[in-house]
Point group: C2
Chain length 204, copies 2
DNA sequence: GAAGAAAAACATACTCAGTAGTCTGTTTTT
DNA sequence: AAAAACAGACTACTGAGTATGTTTTTCTTC
């Protein structure tokens, strides 16, 4: 699970995430990524067998970033409400920290799978990405479900509710731009606002 | 504003929206769209000067679909809460009706503008798309703002709040699949659930 | 309302740029 | 010395856009 990643590989992933974010996962070429590293294709293809594999690696890392950050604050002894609030804050802050990775996730999360006959290997990778993503949202679904049974949350379609919840928490991915002074404070504000909105949307 | 669109042009837009949705706006080729129409490139390039223009046309239509549906139910005499509720329902129902168009919007809404030096014409079209989209969200922002001043909504960062709101209302774009029996009822349920969630997320 | 001209609505066959992936060197580390 | 980590040149293919031909519609004019 914890596949140790070399420094060079990690650097490539960062560059790839950044290019995929700014240019789009399809439009960004391997040469673009290599150029942004001051390198050439050779370096990338030495570490990743194909562009699809590279993309999948970026997506997996995105999922694991948030998974790690959120799992660390889960405490079953808390009420579902309190627990979800901490999870929501942690999620938003982590998304803002590793923004490029999550922008890539959103791009390929629209259900638009290309048309490439994608070598079975790629198909497997994409399946793994989806599996880990679902596993992650399960963390939230569990608390929501607990809260609904509890009576603190309004009884609604679980799938619809959780989907809406995750979208709210991921909304900065669509508009957040780093580089404006006062980063730290603004991020905290955004995390608090969204966490409160998300919780409020659930309450009965 | 109301640029009359011919039947053939409209048919092309539908096919384009469908292809962009299933294959992704980048991966879908003009030939793909033509093939799905039982035609060839010639037909498409006769009506649209470029792929970018076609894409922009799809996006503009998406914005106008929802704009028309929502504007029709706005009634300033209602409380911000009641008005927003009706707007939210109308928005979701319209999104579900013209789903392919809105999937395309989301795909290109991640801020990933390609790298093409895009002839100034395309740049202008994209600007127009963004303008009409912003104009549309203004309809919602106005009511939210009214409600915050009113005291019925919690005082939060307006931009963040509205962004989260729109995302919640657009969430079906990510997971809704048509073709399961009981369409009408399910759509109504989704619209009601999301409208209530959205409103709940705003209340003080 | 028929004949013919003009324009619109396509089809077909090309060009050409960009890009994923490969193959063979060359350098650096172990 | 051997293996890992790259660079650079090359191939094969896809896909946007074009240029020209062909069909259909529309618009006249008798």
């Amino acid at each position: 699970m914890l596949e140790q990643i070399s420094a060079s590989k990690s650097e490539i992933l960062d560059a790839a995430a950044h290019c995929f974010m700014t240019l789009g996962a399809d439009a960004a070429s391997i040469d673009d990524i290599a150029a942004s590293l001051g390198s050439t294709k050779g370096r990338i293809y030495h570490h990743f067998p194909s562009k699809g594999a590279l993309l999948a690696a970026v997506q997996l890392r995105a999922a694991r970033f948030t998974y790690g950050a959120v799992q660390a604050v889960i405490d079953e002894r808390l009420t579902p409400e309190a627990c979800l609030h901490k999870m929501a804050q942690a999620h938003v802050l982590e998304v803002l920290r590793s923004l490029p990775y999550h922008k890539v996730i959103l791009q390929t999360f629209t259900g638009a799978r290309g048309k490439s006959p994608s070598k079975a290997a790629e198909e497997g990778l994409q399946a793994q990405v989806r599996a880990e993503q679902r596993q992650y949202t399960e963390l939230f679904a569990a608390q929501v479900s607990r809260g609904m049974a509890n009576g603190t949350f309004a009884p609604r379609t679980l799938r619809v509710t959780v989907a809406g919840l995750m979208l709210t928490l991921n909304s900065p991915v669509f508009w957040y731009q780093s580089g404006r002074g006062d980063e730290q404070n603004f991020r905290k504000t955004v995390a608090d606002d969204l966490a409160e909105m998300a919780l409020a949307s659930l309450r009965a």
